[in-house]
């Protein structure tokens, strides 16, 4: 009988890694809920912001924001917290908390290459 000996440190690392993945999945799921509640109103397919972005990107980028794969945390934060895009209002802490924002960032970056 062959036995494969796995070092304890590797088991620990695998366990930590699994926990991390589970926590990340949870964060992404939480981010999806926040996105559906706050962002999809304008950014779902066919909604106002999507139509504006369709005209702007002309197919060069996905107009539906949660289909993007190249958004940075800094850009998402700036868009949510400050009035940088003329048509998009900023959202305050009592609407989208810092924890919510972190979750939205995780959700929007879930498919990044």
């Amino acid at each position: 009988m062959n036995h494969i000996l796995i070092p304890g440190s590797l088991l620990f690392a695998l366990s930590v890694s699994a926990d991390h993945v589970a926590a990340q999945d949870e964060l992404v799921e939480r981010g999806r809920e926040v996105y559906d509640n706050w962002c999809a109103i304008c950014h779902a397919p066919g909604e106002g912001a999507t139509r504006i972005l369709e005209e702007r990107y002309l197919g060069s980028l996905p107009a539906v924001v949660d289909e993007r794969t190249n958004l940075t945390a800094e850009l998402i934060t700036a868009r949510v917290r400050t009035w940088v895009a003329p048509q998009m209002p900023p959202f305050r802490q009592s609407e989208v908390s810092d924890a919510d924002l972190e979750a939205v960032i995780a959700y929007l970056k879930r498919n990044d290459e």
């Binding site: 109103i41 106002g48 139509r51 003329p86 209002p89 802490q93 009592s94 609407e95």
Partner: protein
């Protein structure tokens, strides 16, 4: 946004406080009283069209109620909801749809706003409950001394009929907390409407601006007589952004009306309405969409029919400032007002060809007039502000006044209500002095100032 946005004159809050429940609101109000700190209340909305979320006075603390976001009760059988101020139209709409509760609500064009905030600022919807304040039933209010009061039947401990009947004995006082600075509304009952068996969304279109006269006069007996029941709204048609109209032909009007009820009945009403317009205004064109149960409201997509079915949407007033007026339900009065505002606008290098007119109730018509703002263009925005102040004075001289204005013009607007040496304002301020002697709540709101700050009046 405010025409003062990012200028030296822009009022900026000194802090923001976001209580999570009524006890925390009371605590904040008591602290504000102890230290004489003025505060301004926001529910969920951003108040873009009416000056933004900041107060009139620089340094006023923002009391942000967004965290008070509980839908406390929905009674499907009796068609009402009891909500906190942080509940948006989107949130109540989702709540109803997710639970398959067959009630419709009335929504303004920006659905992110607070049901309480919008309703007590006399915000409009587009259904047959379009003057939504008339469907308000019972409030809980934190008074400026920190005490909690419930209005109507809610003043009876354990009331069974708080959201069923709007009065107590004595006067109904809910509207003392509408557009004023006498208390913080922490709960409100709102009557909803049962899903109708059929909904018919219609457009009545004309091609010339001046045809607003026969259009309104043709509508009047239909609205007064109960044939047209929703907040029938006239929009410029085809819509052209302000400032981009062709002065020689700025277009006509689209009167959006809706019918709710039995399929055969709504069709009959619509045929009667078309006959009336064809008789009075040959050449009028019509369009309609009929929806029946079981509704697939999501299929409405981006359709303008959404609003008259109470489906919240993204509305954008980001770069506008509003001055909304009451006027007689009369075509000539509407046309005269357009000409008056156009003349006033010309004095500032702009033009005015009319904005949306809303026949909120069978007897009441308002127009939501707005002017554009350009972020970062102070000169343009200052001109806009001067023009709107000119509108306010010019219309006041003709005996016409606003029902809702942006924060930078509140004193100018209130000054028009000057009968008998401003007796109405003096009455409001006598109440203010009794209810809020330290003047902590929203000083300057709609021109109502506490005693020690009246020298601030613009």
């Amino acid at each position: 946004m405010s025409p003062l946005y990012q200028t030296d004159q822009e009022p900026v809050p000194s802090a923001a406080v976001a209580p999570a429940n009524v006890e925390e609101v009371q605590a904040v109000v008591r602290i504000a009283n102890r230290y004489r700190i003025p505060f301004w209340v926001n529910s969920t909305g951003k108040n873009f069209g009416y000056g933004g979320p900041a107060g009139v006075v620089n340094g006023t603390v923002n009391l942000d109620l967004k965290r008070m976001n509980r839908i406390l009760q929905v009674n499907e059988a009796n068609a009402y909801a009891l909500v906190e101020p942080g509940v948006s139209f989107f949130e109540l709409y989702r709540y109803l749809r997710e639970r398959d509760i067959k009630l419709w609500l009335d929504v303004p064009s920006p659905g992110w706003g607070s049901i309480i905030g919008n309703t007590i600022e006399y915000g409009l919807g587009y259904t047959d409950q379009g003057q939504r304040v008339n469907f308000l039933c019972g409030m809980e209010v934190v008074l400026p001394n920190g005490e909690v009061m419930r209005t109507g039947q809610g003043a009876i401990p354990g009331s069974q009929s708080w959201q069923h009947y709007r009065r107590s004995i004595g006067p109904r006082i809910d509207e003392l907390f509408c557009q004023t600075n006498y208390g913080v509304v922490t709960k409100m009952g709102i009557w909803l409407r049962p899903e109708p068996p059929a909904y018919l969304a219609c457009s009545i279109m004309t091609d010339r601006n001046e045809k607003i006269i026969p259009m309104i006069d043709t509508m009047r007996p239909l609205r007064l007589g109960g044939i047209i029941n929703n907040n029938a709204t006239l929009y410029r048609y085809p819509f052209v952004q302000e400032g981009e109209e062709n002065p020689d032909n700025p277009g006509g009007w689209n009167n959006r009306v809706a019918f709710y009820g039995l399929k055969g009945v709504v069709r009959q009403h619509w045929e009667h309405v078309q006959d009336a317009y064809n008789d009075a205004m040959p050449g009028t064109t019509f369009a309609s969409n009929l929806y029946t149960t079981p509704y697939d409201l999501d299929s409405l997509g981006r359709s303008p029919d959404r609003l008259m079915a109470g489906i919240p949407s993204l509305g954008s007033s980001l770069h506008k400032t509003y001055f909304s007026m009451a006027l007689p339900f009369d075509g000539q009065a509407a046309w005269d007002l357009i000409l008056l505002l156009d003349e006033a606008s010309k004095r500032h290098g702009r033009r005015y060809f009319g904005m949306a007119h809303h026949v909120e109730t069978p007897h009441e018509m308002v127009t939501t007039s707005s002017a554009l703002l350009r972020p970062g263009d102070d000169e343009y925005n200052q001109t806009t502000m001067r023009m709107i102040k000119d509108w306010i004075v010019s219309t006041g001289e003709q005996g016409l006044g606003p029902y809702r204005v942006s924060t930078p013009y509140m004193d100018d607007a209130m000054a028009q209500f000057s009968f008998n040496n401003h007796r109405l304002l003096r009455f409001y301020e006598e109440l203010k002095d009794v209810i809020d002697p330290n003047g902590i709540m929203a000083p300057g709101k709609n021109g109502i100032w506490p005693r020690h700050m009246r020298e601030n009046r613009a």
